[in-house]
Symmetry: C2
Subunit: 205 residues, 2 copies
């Protein structure tokens, strides 16, 4: 997604070969126009699927889940993070290890809001280790719902997240795929969405 | 806001005279159409103010900040509840005591995203003790920005939040004001927005 890549080049702050800060427009201060475009792009990519619900995890996935849910005209659900494992019978839970924070937390979704009739699109801001997304995938499975795919805003292709998700048979689409980066330098690989738009352009010709 | 009150009556879950669960449509599963209407309503209430930024706190304020920011066509910022690893530059902070969780946490906003030129509308899902909102008010003051008002989706009028905010000279508007509740029973007082719409209707006659 060229708009997103341009924004990352212009306003992203590359702190190291692993850490990219995008909190001026994606996940602290939020450019709502860009978020809406991201939602529309996920809709273009997954519109052939019958999506009944968008699922994300608090907090930084919420703005993209909202934009995507708006584009599909369905509700979204955000999983909650809990440190203490209090026994709650009415929730689906998965354990997620955060490598950044070096701690394990529980991801919870109320059983009332996800069930066997749901066709779920999972959306999040980053795909890196894939830990949080795998927790969400496990929750969708636990709910007996159909997982239609995972949409990520930014993917760090040099980390193992995609591989781990694809091993579980999950269809993963990212809008900006970073192959390598270092302070002052960033390289993208063409995203699935660009291939898709190219195909659309081919049809139009 | 009648649409919201009707939804609370139909789908809200009153657990006690103090606890109202609205997680089927507001803050776990989210009805995006309702969230957008809430954003438009805050815009109607505050449109005479020159708003440059909407401010909220993660996680459950994000969907309403996004809808409100969309209506004003400005960015929004969500305060983080503790200092994140990648939030390296200087931050404004305020200590907030959560009565529900009986713990004190830090609310942080990067200094890069709030400054003296900003005219800020604070938005959140609930106004009860006002603790989190007062933290945000303090951060706006610390930034030297102009606070134009606070918009809350649901206010529990029987708690002290509004009084504490008004003591600080803050203009508070809530869309559903609960005067009293108990399992199976809920009472609303007319909201500021309804008075405003009534005024609009009077003009139209």
């Amino acid at each position: 997604m060229k708009l997103l890549e341009d924004k990352i080049r212009a306003q992203g702050n590359i702190l190291s070969d692993k850490v990219l800060k995008v909190d001026s427009f994606l996940n602290h201060q939020v450019d709502t126009s860009l978020a809406l475009e991201i939602g529309k792009q996920f809709h273009r990519i997954f519109e052939h699927k019958k999506i009944t619900k968008v699922l994300t995890i608090e907090a930084s996935g919420i703005q993209f889940a909202m934009a995507t849910a708006m584009a599909f005209n369905v509700p979204f659900v955000y999983a909650k993070k809990k440190k203490a494992v209090t026994l709650q019978e009415s929730v689906y839970t998965a354990a997620v290890h955060s490598f950044t924070k070096q701690e394990t937390y529980q991801v919870c979704v109320s059983q009332a809001y996800l069930g066997p009739d749901d066709h779920v699109l999972i959306v999040d801001d980053f795909l890196a280790t894939g830990a949080a997304l795998i927790g969400l995938v496990d929750i969708v499975k636990e709910a007996g719902a159909t997982l239609e795919g995972v949409g990520c805003v930014i993917e760090k292709c040099f980390q193992e997240g995609r591989e781990l998700l694809e091993q579980k048979g999950v269809s993963v689409h990212s809008l900006a795929k970073i192959s390598a980066m270092a302070p002052g330098e960033i390289h993208f690989v063409p995203g699935d969405d660009e291939a898709l738009l190219q195909k659309e352009n081919d049809h139009a010709e």
